[in-house]
Symmetry: C2
DNA sequence: GTCTATAATGGGATAGAC
DNA sequence: GTCTATCCCATTATAGAC
C-alpha cells in the first residue's frame, strides 16, 4: 500500500526499511516523539493540576493535527502487536498515562484515563463529526476532557484553586 | 483461526459459511440483534431522557458482557470494511446514535455520542483496567456516561440495575 | 458434516540488474 | 535508489472422497 501510494515498487520501500516492523516503529517514534517535550515538561512541573492541563492540551492538539491517522496507529491489530514488542514505546505510554493520572491510581482515575485516551483518538475521525472544523473540535474536546477528568472547567494560568481530581 | 479453535478443518467451517464476509455478517448480526429490543423500546418511549437512560444501560451491559471481543468487531480494519458494505448495519448504527442523541443533533451532542461510544468499547478491554471486576466497571461506566451526556447523575425510578444483555 | 488435498490470492521479503 | 522477477507463507476458498 505504501509503495502504491508513493508510486514506487515494494522493493524500493524495502531498500529503506528491512521489515514491516521497522516501518511501524519509525512512524510510531515520529508521532510519540512529538509529545516528548510536552511529557518532560509535565513531569518537571510541580503543580500537578497544571501539568495535566498542559499535557492534555498537547495530546489533543496532536490528535487533531493527525486527524485521520491516529486511530490507525492505535487500533490496527498488527501495528499494536509490533508496538507492544517494543519496550521503549511501552515505557513512553506508561509515562504518558502516569502524567495524566497524577498521583491518583485508583480504579476511577485509571478508568478516566483509559476512556479519555480512546475517546480522543476515535472522536477526531468519527463519521458523526467529520464536518466539524479543527478549532471547534479542539475546544469541545478540551472541554469534554476536563469534564471527564474532573478538572476545573476554566483554567486561569498560575493560580489553580479548583476542585481536586477525586470524586 | 476459527477452525483451529473449534478443532475442525477449514473446509468444515466453509461448509457453514461460503465466505469470510458471511461469518463477519453473522457475528455482527448476533451482537447487534441483542440490542434490537432495547433500541425499539427506546424509540417507542415518550420520555426522551428515560429512553436514553435505558438504551445506555443496555449498551454498557452488553459491552461488559462481551468484554474482550467488542473492540475486535469495532476496530479490526477488515471487519469494519465488510460491515460498512452491509446496509442494514449502517441503518442500525444510525438508529442507535439517533436514539442516544435524542433530538439534539448539534456539534456538541454528536461529539458526546462519538466519544462515548468509543470510550465504552475501548475501556472495557483496556490494560489499565483489566483488573476491575464487571460490577465495579459497570457502575463507573454508567456514571461516566451520564457525565459525558449531561444526564442527571442519579436516575430515579424503574428496573434499572446491572442486568446482563441476554443469552 | 467432516475429511484430505489443492488451488488462488496477496502481503512480506529477497536477489540481482540497471 | 529503483527496477523486474521471484520466493515464502498465511489467508481465503474449492473439489471430491468418506
Amino acid at each position: 500500500m505504501i509503495a502504491d501510494a508513493m508510486g514506487v515498487t515494494k522493493a524500493a520501500v524495502y531498500r529503506q526499511f528491512k521489515t514491516k516492523e521497522e516501518i511501524v516503529i519509525a512512524i510510531t517514534e515520529r508521532e510519540l516523539g512529538m509529545l516528548e517535550d510536552a511529557l518532560e515538561a509535565a513531569e518537571a512541573e510541580d503543580d500537578r493540576l497544571r501539568a495535566r492541563e498542559v499535557l492534555l492540551n498537547r495530546v489533543i492538539d496532536q490528535a487533531i493535527a493527525r486527524r485521520g491517522t491516529v486511530s490507525v496507529l492505535q487500533f490496527d491489530p498488527v501495528i499494536i502487536r509490533l508496538q507492544a514488542q517494543h519496550k521503549p514505546f511501552q515505557r513512553f505510554i506508561e509515562r504518558l498515562f502516569a502524567a495524566l493520572l497524577g498521583t491518583d491510581t485508583g480504579v476511577e482515575a485509571r478508568l478516566h484515563a483509559a476512556m479519555l485516551s480512546s475517546a480522543i483518538s476515535v472522536a477526531v475521525m468519527h463519521p458523526l463529526i467529520a464536518d466539524v472544523d479543527d478549532d471547534t473540535l479542539r475546544s469541545h474536546l478540551m472541554h469534554m476532557a476536563r469534564r471527564m477528568l474532573n478538572l476545573p472547567t476554566q483554567v486561569s494560568a498560575g493560580t489553580m484553586g479548583g476542585r481536586s481530581a477525586a470524586v
